[in-house]
Structure formats: structure tokens, C-alpha cells
Assembly symmetry: C2
Homo-oligomer: 499 residues x 2
């Protein structure tokens, strides 16, 4: 069986290498590729995808996994080899469920749909996107039909991004959070607003960039195994582990996008840099799930980067770089970067309102899959729900139902992971504060090594060896639990807004 495991590892290494090459192509496409190269890039990515799919669905791999299944079941289930086989079987079964014609059709529909979405959003005209979204929904329903029946058809979608997570569980979690979050926002809206005008002024771009570098260097982002570039839509990319690249954008007249974006991406990147070197070139060299990944980016962005102790250390340094902030007190600054105001756009939402944007999307996606809402009625339903949750109504579809790219990529079942990531971040944070009692003091001194060390050991190094709920349970003693998050929000904003 040693020999068979070696064979499997070889195949997984090939797939990892192709995936790594695809990641470099993707990073390049969004940073440095000249515009003329776009069509060729699509072809290169398509061919690599096809070759990977051939390997990932080959009958030889299937036979190999059949032989290895029983052997793997006899091993300590936490051993790399046992997990490796388990996930290889899972991935193989998923990939082989989809007929080749479906994969090809899906790629074509998405390419067209993505273009149509961009145009529809630019013109703020949902009708341009509607027929494409209808095709996407049809594909999504066909996708679901290739899988065994689940409690809720949406389970199949969720499982792509949050393995083994059930729709019912997500709904239960969100149902617990939503009313309390709506209530909190209402209470905040009745209080005088904090001042954040000083964030909207000219900030030298190079100075901003350098400050971001200073901060994430202190966090422990490893520049030997990474780099930072500019991109219009920041992301974390590259082939992973020893080459994890982040991107950021710098707004010369608004301080927030650079610093919070940089900390967010560094959070993702430090997860990928922290994956065990033993996982290199395996199917386990990845985050446990999108929610767990988002818990890392949100932790560094919000729990560290929007906290008072963090700015107690960094605000004097920031003022040195930007003397225009000398008249703004630390307290005013802290409140300003934590301003709450219900807004139309998810990616610009503050901590207190963000999850509501997600819940709205989950509910609409579920209704679509259940056939309860037709695509043509989405704008109206969207706008009504925005009014109900956030008290605002989009003046046009660009700032409403058309704002996110995800559906045009055929991605349904994805959004929940953002909100789950917020919940997990605070749940981990409670546990970290138990394990590192002077964490706040450390942050106040600009020290992050104990924090990063904890995350490395408890989360990062395992990669994808554990299912997300399994990992959260293992680390915190319970599955994903919304209570810490709600408690955190109430305490933080209670203090800021004097509730």
C-alpha cells in the first residue's frame, strides 16, 4: 500500500503543480498582464483546466482510490495519509459526477454571463443580465441534480465552499443573529453619529502604502514568501505556502481602503503561508473552508485592526506619517474608523451591518433554488429586503442586485461563508484571549507573535485536514456558535455609541 500511496501522492502533486501554475496566471492577469493578452490567457487557463480535469477524473485515479479506501480507513484518521485519501475520494466523487458536456457548457455560459453582468452593472440595467442569470440558475439546478438528494437542495451548493455544512444549520445560526443585529443598528441610528470626516481627505499614496507594509510586517506576513502589488479589486493569490501574494488598492482621498484591505488580505495570506510544509503538493494544502479562511482575514482586519489597543500602538506612528491627523484624538480616530451607517454596498459595509447584506443574499439564493422567487423578480425582492433589514432602498440596480460579481461566475452558495467567517473569527478570539490572557497588552505594544503562533498551531498548519465544523469544535470546544459574535458587537458598539 506504501507504493499506492506514493502513486496517489504523485498524482496529487501533478494536480497541485497545475493548480499552482493556474494561480500564477490568475495573479498575473489581475496585476501586470497587458490588455492584449486577455484572450490568450483565457485559452491557457482553459487548457490547464482541461488537463487538470482529465487527471482528476481519470479511471486510473478512481481505481487507485478504490484500492486505498479500506487501507486509509484502517489508519489513525488524523494521519496525513488518511486525510489525504479521504479528501481525494471526496474530490474525485464530486468531479466525476459532472458530465464533461455540463462542464463545457458551464464554462461557456459563465464566460458570456460574466461579460453581460459587467455591462448590465455599468448601465445599471438588470434586464441585460436577466437572461444570463436565468441560464445560470438552470445550470445550478442541474448541478444539484447530479448529486444525491439532500435535506435541502441548497446543501449541495453550500458544500462546495463549506464542506459538510447544512443549510438548516446556517439558517439557524443566521436566525439567531439577525434580530439582534437589526435591533443593534436601530439603537445606533437613534444616537448621535460619530465623526469620520478626517478619513476623507488627501493621504499621500506612497506614505499609505508604506504604513500598510509596516503594519503587516509587524503582524508577521513573510516577505520572503510573498509580495504586495496594486490591484483594482484586492485579492490574495499565488501558488500558496511558499509563494503567497497579496494585493491592495490605495485611494488618495480616503484612508480606509488601503489599511483595512491590506490587513484583510494579509490575514488570508498568513493562513496560506502557515499551512504545514508537509502539505506541499497535496490536496490538503488549502484552507479548511472559505468561512475559516474569512475568519482569519476578518480577525486581522477587525478584531486586531479596528481595535483600540492596536491603534494605541500604531496611531502615533500614523500621525507621524500624516501630520494632518495631529488634531484628531485617538478616541475620535477609533470611533471614526468604526462608524456604523447602513449602506447599499456589501463590500463597503461596516462590521455592524455587514452580516445583514449576507443574510439577504442567502435568503434570495435559497428562494431561487426552491423556485419561490423568479429571476425577473429579484430586483424588487432585493430592494424590499434592503429596506426591511437596513432601512435603505437602492436607487438603481447597480447599487442593488447587480453589485456582486459572484452570480455571474455561477457561484451560488458562496456568500454565507463571509458571514460565517465573521462569527468564527470572534469565536476563535474568545478562545485566544483565554489562552493568551495578556493578548490585549501585547497588541498595545505592537507584538503579534503569540497571536500568530496560536493561529499557526491551531488552525493554519492543518490546512484542509479537518472539516470546518470539526476544526472549530476541536479548537474552541463547540461548533460554529453565533453568541460570541453578538456579544462582541453589542459590547464594542455599546461603548462607541454609548448605548
Amino acid at each position: 500500500m506504501e507504493e499506492k500511496i506514493k502513486q496517489l501522492r504523485n498524482t496529487l502533486a501533478e494536480l497541485a503543480d497545475i493548480g499552482g501554475a493556474q494561480a500564477v496566471l490568475g495573479w498575473d492577469q489581475q496585476t501586470y498582464m497587458p490588455p492584449g493578452g486577455a484572450e490568450q490567457r483565457g485559452q491557457q487557463a482553459g487548457t490547464l483546466g482541461k488537463l487538470a480535469h482529465q487527471i482528476a477524473t481519470s479511471p486510473e485515479l478512481g481505481r487507485l482510490l478504490d484500492e486505498l479506501k479500506t487501507y486509509a480507513a484502517s489508519l489513525d484518521p488524523d494521519l496525513d495519509d488518511a486525510r489525504l485519501v479521504k479528501f481525494a475520494v471526496r474530490d474525485y466523487e464530486q468531479a466525476t459526477r459532472l458530465p464533461q458536456e455540463f462542464v463545457v457548457e458551464q464554462a461557456q455560459v459563465i464566460a458570456m454571463s460574466n461579460q453581460a453582468w459587467a455591462e448590465a452593472r455599468a448601465r445599471s440595467d438588470f434586464s441585460l443580465f436577466q437572461p444570463h442569470l436565468e441560464k445560470i440558475v438552470e445550470l445550478v439546478n442541474r448541478y444539484i441534480s447530479f448529486f444525491p438528494k439532500t435535506d435541502h437542495p441548497y446543501d449541495v451548493l453550500l458544500d462546495q465552499f463549506e464542506p459538510e455544512m447544512k443549510t438548516a444549520d446556517v439558517k439557524k445560526i443566521f436566525d439567531a443573529v439577525r434580530p439582534q443585529q437589526v435591533e443593534l443598528i436601530k439603537a445606533i441610528s437613534e444616537k448621535p453619529q460619530v465623526d469620520d470626516s478626517f478619513l476623507h481627505q488627501a493621504f499621500d499614496e506612497k506614505n499609505q502604502w508604506d504604513f500598510g507594509v509596516e503594519v503587516i510586517t509587524a503582524f508577521g506576513y513573510d516577505w520572503q514568501r510573498g509580495r504586495q502589488d496594486k490591484a483594482p479589486h484586492p485579492f490574495t493569490g499565488g501558488p500558496g505556502i511558499n509563494d503567497v501574494r497579496i494585493t491592495t488598492r490605495v485611494d488618495p482621498n480616503f484612508f480606509n481602503p488601503m489599511i483595512f484591505g491590506t490587513m484583510h488580505e494579509a490575514g488570508h495570506a498568513m493562513y496560506d503561508q502557515g499551512l504545514g510544509q508537509n502539505l506541499l503538493r497535496t490536496n490538503l494544502a488549502n484552507g479548511a473552508s472559505l468561512a475559516v479562511h474569512e475568519s482569519q482575514s476578518r480577525m486581522w482586519e477587525n478584531l486586531v485592526g479596528r481595535s483600540l489597543p492596536f491603534w494605541q500602538h500604531f496611531y502615533p506612528r500614523l500621525q507621524e506619517r500624516f501630520p494632518q491627523l495631529n488634531g484628531v484624538s485617538l478616541d475620535t480616530f477609533y470611533k471614526g474608523i468604526n462608524i456604523v451607517h447602513p449602506s447599499l454596498i456589501r463590500v463597503e459595509a461596516d462590521e455592524a451591518t455587514y452580516n445583514l447584506h449576507i443574510m439577504l443574499r442567502l435568503e434570495l439564493e435559497m428562494a431561487i433554488v426552491e423556485g419561490k422567487v423568479a429571476v425577473k423578480d429579484l430586483p424588487e425582492t432585493w430592494n424590499a429586503r434592503m429596506q426591511e433589514y437596513l432601512g435603505v432602498t437602492p436607487p438603481d440596480d447597480a447599487r442593488g442586485v447587480l453589485q456582486d460579481i459572484h452570480w455571474s461566475w455561477g457561484l451560488m452558495g458562496y456568500f454565507s461563508t463571509y458571514a460565517l467567517g465573521n462569527l468564527v473569527s470572534v469565536q476563535l478570539w474568545e478562545k485566544i484571549n483565554q489562552d493568551i490572557p495578556d493578548l490585549e497588552e501585547q497588541i498595545r505594544s505592537g507584538k503579534f507573535d503569540a497571536l500568530l503562533g496560536w493561529l499557526r498551531e491551531k488552525i493554519h498548519v492543518h490546512g484542509r485536514k479537518f472539516m470546518p465544523q470539526e476544526l472549530v469544535q476541536k479548537v474552541t470546544g463547540s461548533k460554529i456558535d453565533p453568541a460570541p459574535y453578538v456579544k462582541y458587537l453589542k459590547a464594542k458598539y455599546g461603548q462607541i455609541y454609548g448605548l
Copy 2:
């Protein structure tokens, strides 16, 4: 047969896509990849190379080509399809001659050898590289043994880079050039030296970069389908045709490396940008040979970029950027950038001495393949030959036999193409001046569109459809001919040095 051609085109497209992806990985590795990513990058490149080799040597492709051979022979031989099949057959036959074990062993030896060379050069200690070079030579001899017997064993090596070129022809060409070039250098050395001290002073880096951009934009380098970055060893890369990237280096205290390097790489890049769009994703989307490629880079670097008419237009612009040149006359500047002084390092050699560096390497490579010189005696032989041709003796091996990376990559048969490129550039130049009688006047006005248009039509658009000698013959009416080159050197340096 239409269907079979389509099948072949599909396979070639896949190979082109993988090659394009490899080109992006290679570019990234030499520009932006963080150091930690090197090992993973090697694995990614290895896996893509293996997949490409599997496709390129698959029995199905062999059968397809067998079926297409007769059909292709019945077509007009200049049709894309006819050439496509011809080159596919050539490439398939070459690839399938090499046993898989040989390819694997070669890759391993090269990886080790490349590392050893870097260390040997850094320490200037040939003995560190010697055992590796001995293995390389053994591999080269085995490589030759896989091919049918040729007039000279070196023919097999040459053919990799200069298809169908014979050692005897190259030798004959070089034998005609060498004595005249040696004599010219001797005559120059007896004349008073020109002044180039003004080139060795502080030149603002950004200003240098911007000037280079101004020049190659005027040449017609297409920024929509390319970009320029910095690299320690400048090269032209990227996936080709609609994405052709150049790199340059800027020395803050010496003007030459940036400007002549930039023009050189732009020359290569404009060739690749000019390949016919009909050749995209085929095996013809490449230069005719390395010599023809080098003829383009050398033409823009030397025949344009080191000419008086060019600087009649650009020198005032340069002086505006660098007022420290205001006291240097155009005549002095022109002579300074064309200074001749026999030197130790090939890549720093001037036009008058460059070819002699190449001839020395060709002679040594031939002697090695013929078994007339042992690897261990290379340093001594190298130094003696340098004294004979250029009147200088390397004080150490780093500036002698260890200076070039090529042998450590297993590349033998490559160097000649540099010198042949010089010859071809002038041969084309004569023809261009017949076809565009006011070319010099155009260059004096900073106009290059007729020149680039000529190159596009006569050379670039054909890609690899013609064998190099066939192409030169087709365009100039004769095969590669050294006479124009010798005439050009004598006229140019006769004027500069008053011979």
C-alpha cells in the same frame, strides 16, 4: 483531411497554451516571484514540461501526422497548413528520438550543473564546475547519438537553434569574417582612442527609464500587447504575439546598459508582436531561428540605435533630460557610444569585437564534440584564444571560461546564432535601404513606421514558416552572406577612427 487538420490544430493549440503558461511562469520567476517560491516554481515548470512532452510524443499524434504527411505534400508548400504539418513532423521526430530516461536525466544534470556553475563563477573556480560540465558534454554526445549521422556531429546541435544550418556553412562564413575583423581591430588599436568618459557618470534612473520608453514607443513597440519591467539579466518573455514583455536594467552610473539593452529587447519583442495573428496557437508562432531573431534585436540596437541619424533626432531630447551632456557634442557622443576596445566579457563587447567572442566559443564547442579538447583544458585553451583574437588574457576564470550561463544549461550549438544574427541584420539592412531609399532621412526625423512595416511584411508575419536560410534568401536574394557585414564595419569604424 479537413477533420484531421483540425485535430492537429487542436493538439498544437494545447501545446501552445501550455507553452504560453510556461512563458508566464518564466517571466514571473525572473521579475516578481518571491525567493521562497523558487522550489515550487521548479516543480510547476517540471510538471507542465512533462505534460507537454507527453502530448508532443504521443502515439496518437504520430499516427495523425503519418496520415497528414502525404496530404500536406500535395498542398501549395507555402500554405499555413502545409508548413504546419511540416514543422509538426520535424518537431515530433526530434522529440520522439529522445528516450524518456534521457530527458529526465538531462533535467536533473542541468539543475545541478546550473547551481554549480553559479557557485564556480562567484568563486572564479573552474574546478567546481568541471565535473558537471563533463557530464553535460557526455549528455551532449549522447544527444547527438540519438540522431542520424550528419556531416559533422555538431550539425545536430546547431540544428536545434538554427534549423537545417550546417557546421561547414557556419565555419565558412566565420572564416571569411574573422581575419578581416581581427585586422580591423588591430588598425583601430593603432589610432588614438575616442572619449566615452561622459557615459560613465550619474544618470537619474527614472529619467533613463523614461527615455528608453520614449525611444521604443517611437520604434513601434506595442504597449497594449506588452510591458516593460526591470530584471538583472534583461530578456524578452511572455506568451507571445499579443503578450510580449521586455525587461531592462538601469545602471545609475553608466548610460549604455539601459538604452542599448532596451532597444535590443524591443527588437526581439517587435518580432514576436509582428507574428501573424493567423499563427496564434500553432507551432509556427515563433521566430524563424535564433539568428533571425537576433538580427532583429541587433538591427534596432546597432544599425538604428548606434547610428548617427538616430542620435541626430534623439540627442537633443536626451540632452534635455540630462543637462550634464550639454557640453558633449553630438559627434563626441556618437563616437563615445561606438568606442571599440577589446574586452573580456562577451555581453559587454562592442560591435567590432563581438563576433570574435562568438567564434572562439564555436571553435571550442566543436573541439569538445570532436574530442580534441578535454573539459579540464578549457580554461587554458580559452585564455590562449582570447590573447590571439583580442589581445587580452582573462585574469581569472570568472572573466574567462565561466562567464556564460549557456553550457550549464546544457546549451551547446547556441552561441553561433548571436554572430549570425549580426551578419543577417546588416544583410537585411542593405536590402531595406534599397527598398526605402530615404530611410536615413526618416530615422533622422524620428520616423520608424516604414522600417517596422518592412520588417513586419518581410520577416515577422511569417513566423517560423520558413527555414532561416530560406527566409534570408527569399528576402535578400542570397543565403546568409558575411560581405555586407564586413563592409559595414569597415565603413563605420573607418569613419569613427579615421582609418
